[in-house]
């Protein structure tokens, strides 16, 4: 069953120079899927994520979440929709510096005015699962990048969203922390059947996913599914990327390799 349907979405930025950022893009995301979207810089990944996050509206086409069409909602309803159905993980974590780790995690629930008891229960289970106990009362500037991203993931999970949208979650992390975060995401995906949509540049990050969708200049380019071994999946991703770069096999110029 698809949880998110993107149907013929086009986004045109009007201005002095008209720019078609997304062109006739169609895909589905199934429940419990871990999907990566890859593409070179300027391919429209971030625009796509903004459209799915409902903070931007497509010029034409539809985005449907579980029969809800965010296009039909007014701004307040959209805010409520985002707060309840979507979870966000950002490249630069975007933890609020004045709140402690614990407070950052429960923030989505306080915005939604949930009872304190519910907050504490969910916080407790997340703390155990994501191993946050040692720095629960510290502030974001006192913890490492990997820890901060774990906190951000906990924040994205606490309200049990339909789908988690991750924008380059490993973009600011070193390789060890990246691995840790990616393993965490795929663990959540497996254990909790959480649906994750991740935008990334990084083929290693993409190799943790079930499926990788490639876009180029705002259009669908290719998609590949994961097989048994991550190593071969990684190799196949690299092959597609090299095609993406301009058609010459073996040319990796437009992709930032790890």
């Amino acid at each position: 069953m698809s949880i998110l349907q993107v149907r013929d979405v086009t986004k045109v930025y009007e201005g002095k120079v008209t720019n078609r950022a997304i062109n006739q893009l169609t895909f589905d995301v199934e429940k419990g899927e871990f999907l990566a979207i890859m593409g070179p810089s300027g391919s429209g990944k971030t625009t796509l994520l903004n459209l799915i996050s409902t903070i931007d509206k497509p010029t034409s086409g539809e985005i449907i979440f579980n029969d809800i069409k965010p296009l039909n909602l007014n701004n307040t309803e959209l805010a409520y929709f985002r707060r309840r159905e979507l979870g966000f993980v950002f490249q630069d974590f975007n933890l609020l510096p004045m709140l402690t780790v614990e407070e950052n995690i429960v923030l989505p629930l306080t915005l939604d005015q949930k009872p304190v008891q519910v907050m504490e229960e969910r916080l407790q289970s997340l703390v155990n699962r994501l191993d946050l106990k040692s720095f629960l009362y510290k502030r974001p500037n006192e913890i490492s990048g990997g820890q901060a991203q774990r906190v951000a993931i906990a924040r994205a999970l606490i309200h049990e969203p339909t789908i988690i949208l991750a924008d380059e979650p490993t973009g600011n992390l070193d390789s060890n922390n990246s691995r840790e975060v990616l393993e965490l995401l795929s663990k959540i995906n497996k254990e909790k059947q959480a649906t994750i949509l991740m935008v990334t540049h990084d083929p290693i990050a993409a190799s943790y996913c079930d499926r990788v969708l490639f876009i180029k200049d705002g259009e669908f380019f290719n998609e590949i599914y994961r097989d048994d071994r991550r190593q071969t999946f990684f190799q196949r991703i690299l092959n597609v990327l090299s095609l993406l770069g301009g058609g010459k096999v073996g040319d990796l110029s437009s992709i930032r390799l790890p």
């Binding site: 996050s53 903070i55 701004n75 307040t76 959209l78 805010a79 409520y80 929709f81 985002r82 707060r83 309840r84 979507l86 966000f88 950002f90 975007n94 609020l96 510096p97 004045m98 709140l99 407070e103 429960v106 923030l107 989505p108 306080t110 915005l111 005015q113 304190v116 907050m119 504490e120 502030r139 500037n141």
Partner: protein, 643 residues
């Protein structure tokens, strides 16, 4: 493009960024210029304000200069802080530090010159309006607009030098920071919040003790208390913002049931950092606002006193003397001849007032004769008193007393002469000022008065009564110079421990002229100080907000993505801004409230006037201004973070 052109275009094309700094400079020039126009007014030199010492106006002007220098310096600092990212790019591209300071200098001079020009232009345009207000307040005949070079030169000199010094100073003495730090912008939340429980308690205790002392202030303790209270309050306020408020916020944070509920978490957590970053500024704003409130309040009190002066002092001149006062004839004759010389019409009434002991209270009572009182009432044009034998009437000592005494019925016997009187009325208007008659004064009929042959029991230790000469003068304001030698003797005697002169003299016209000049002084100095301080207090907050706008915008972007509706965003902004605006003001308001309770106590003892109504009006006005300002800033702020 030359360097100068670069600086010029920087200013002209970014006029919106520079607007805040420009407005701050513009307003201080504006206020300063208008005030200078008044100080240099040709009529001031001719002494139109009577005894308003020009000295005090100059002092006020100097305070104003110092304050506006500080103010410009502060806004400059905030402004430069907000532009660190821009400077970082320039430094990154290889600009020398010397060139950067030259750039800032040039820009400041450009903005400074424009704001001086506009300030003077608007100042000159509005000074007639200001003169009209001053004329109304001070009840002057005429205060014309004039043109002279002094105010212009003074304003230009003061502010141009201010801009030059401050721009050099603020760049040269700014701590050198690494470009990389400048690039990442100001991270204002890197310090852990520390507070000391001990200091937190000191803060609250000092303020409380100050308040209690203010409540206990009486005339006798006035001088010692006025020494202590400001010190206590100042220290207390400092610790209140640095520690006590943190302590309270921390207490709230420990209660999750309160803290996490109803999306309170974010606004409360922010308070910690607001207090941490702005504690010192809040302290300054509180003190400054308290001063502004005090001067506005004092002004209101004085205006209440002057407007009530006429009814409180119905008589022009009053001469009161012992029964056997040897100077009586001489003094009265000299006053009368002076009045005639001046051509002032007057109505002289002489009273013989006898003191008797009342059987009901056991204390002395001052007894007036019906026909004497009627003589005075006739000249006032008030209704006459008709008393039959055995009847008495109270003489009210204040406006309030009229109501209090009207219900009262007293049967009393004047013990010395065994005359029984039934007192069941009060005269419905003030006849004498409260300083002249005692609290227990009655009028009795002429027949009863004749029976008072035996003197007061306390005699000879106490005076058995007094002679009172009242001059009802329609043009009482012009009696300033009448009886000056007598007035001087009385004034000298007042400075001694015991008042031994057998007479007492009161000149309402003279007192009024003193009062009026004090009032004028307060109006001119107080209004100005209040206006500048209030403006500054508001601007400090504005600049602080302006500096942190970028990081605030980032915060709201995250929140918007996570999903907060427009209404919730507005609520969050309100909760974020509200304490910054109203915490210092609230504290300042409470401080001045206690100051005025003390003042009311003292005034009640001295002059028996009530300042409550005027204070409520004045403070209501101030609060209205602040609320308007709050909504204005909130509107701009929401517009900023929303897009």
């Amino acid at each position: 493009m030359t360097f100068h052109q670069f600086a010029y275009r920087n200013v002209v094309r970014n006029i919106r960024i520079y607007a805040a700094f420009f407005m701050a400079s513009f307003f201080s020039v504006f206020v300063f210029f208008i005030y200078s126009m008044l100080v240099f007014h040709p009529k001031i030199e001719n002494g139109f304000l009577g005894t308003v010492p020009i000295f005090w106006m100059v002092i006020a002007e100097i305070i104003l200069v110092l304050f506006s220098w500080f103010f410009i310096f502060y806004s400059m600092k905030a402004f430069l802080e907000a532009r660190t990212r821009e400077f970082a790019i320039l430094l990154h591209l290889g600009m020398e530090r010397r060139q950067l300071s030259k750039l800032v200098f040039l820009e400041t001079i450009i903005i400074g010159t424009i704001s001086i020009m506009f300030g003077i232009l608007f100042g000159y345009a509005f000074s007639k309006f200001f003169f009209m207000i001053v004329r109304e307040i001070l009840m002057l005949d005429d205060l014309p607009l004039y043109f002279s070079w002094e105010p212009f030169v003074l304003t230009i000199a003061v502010y141009l030098s201010a801009f030059i010094f401050i721009s050099l100073f603020s760049v040269h003495f700014a701590p050198e920071r690494k470009i990389i730090d400048l690039m990442t912008g100001s991270k204002n939340v890197h310090v852990n919040v520390l507070y000391m429980k001990r200091k937190a308690i000191i803060g609250i205790v000092f303020i409380m003790v100050g308040y209690i002392l203010a409540l206990l202030t009486t005339r006798t303790t006035l001088f010692t208390f006025t020494m202590f209270i400001p010190i206590l309050i100042t220290i207390g306020t400092y610790y209140f913002f640095s520690d006590t408020a943190q302590f309270i916020v921390d207490r709230v944070k420990n209660k999750k049931q309160v803290y996490w509920k109803k999306s309170r978490m974010l606004p409360i957590a922010e308070q910690t950092f607001i207090l941490k970053n702005n504690g010192k500024m809040f302290f300054v704003v509180t003190l400054v606002s308290t001063l502004a409130f005090l001067s506005v309040g004092l002004l209101a009190a004085l205006s209440s006193y002057t407007s009530q002066y006429d009814t409180l002092n119905p008589l022009g001149l009053i001469y009161k003397g012992h029964i056997n006062n040897p100077y009586e004839d001489e003094h009265i004759a000299s006053i009368v001849s002076e009045l005639e010389e001046k051509g002032l019409s007057y109505h002289l009434t002489s009273f013989t007032v006898l003191k008797q002991t009342s059987s009901t209270t056991g204390y002395g009572v001052e007894v007036f004769k019906e026909s004497d009182v009627n003589n005075l009432l006739f000249s006032y044009g008030y209704p006459m008193v008709r008393l039959s034998q055995g009847q008495g009437m109270f003489i009210p000592y204040s406006e309030d007393a009229i109501n209090d005494l009207s219900e009262k019925v007293v049967h009393t016997v004047l013990l010395e002469n065994n005359v029984s009187i039934k007192i069941d009325q009060v005269y419905p208007k003030l006849i004498f000022p409260s300083s002249i008659v005692g609290l227990n004064s009655i009028i009795i009929s002429d027949e009863d008065f004749k029976k008072l042959i035996h003197p007061y029991n306390g005699f000879p230790e106490f005076e058995p009564g007094y002679h009172l000469f009242t001059f009802d003068i329609p043009q009482w304001i012009e009696t300033k110079e009448i009886g000056l030698p007598i007035q001087q003797k009385v004034a000298q005697e007042y400075l001694k421990d015991d008042y031994l002169l057998p007479y007492y003299f009161e000149n309402a016209g003279l007192n009024y002229s003193y009062l009026l000049s004090a009032y004028s002084l307060f109006t001119l100095v107080g209004l100005l100080v209040a206006a500048v301080f209030l403006l500054a207090a508001g601007s400090f907050i504005y600049f602080k907000l302006h500096t942190n706008l970028d990081s605030e915008k980032r915060k709201f972007d995250v929140l918007k993505r996570m999903g907060i509706s427009d209404g919730e965003l507005k609520k969050l902004v309100t909760k974020y801004l509200f304490p910054q605006f109203f915490l210092p003001w609230g504290v300042a308001l409470i401080h001045s409230l206690f100051a005025f309770i003390a003042l009311q106590n003292i005034l009640e003892n001295i002059a028996n006037i009530s300042i409550v109504k005027e204070l409520v009006l004045a403070f209501g006005f101030l609060i209205a201004i602040q609320v308007t300002y709050f909504y204005l800033i909130r509107w701009r702020y929401i517009a900023h973070v929303r897009d």
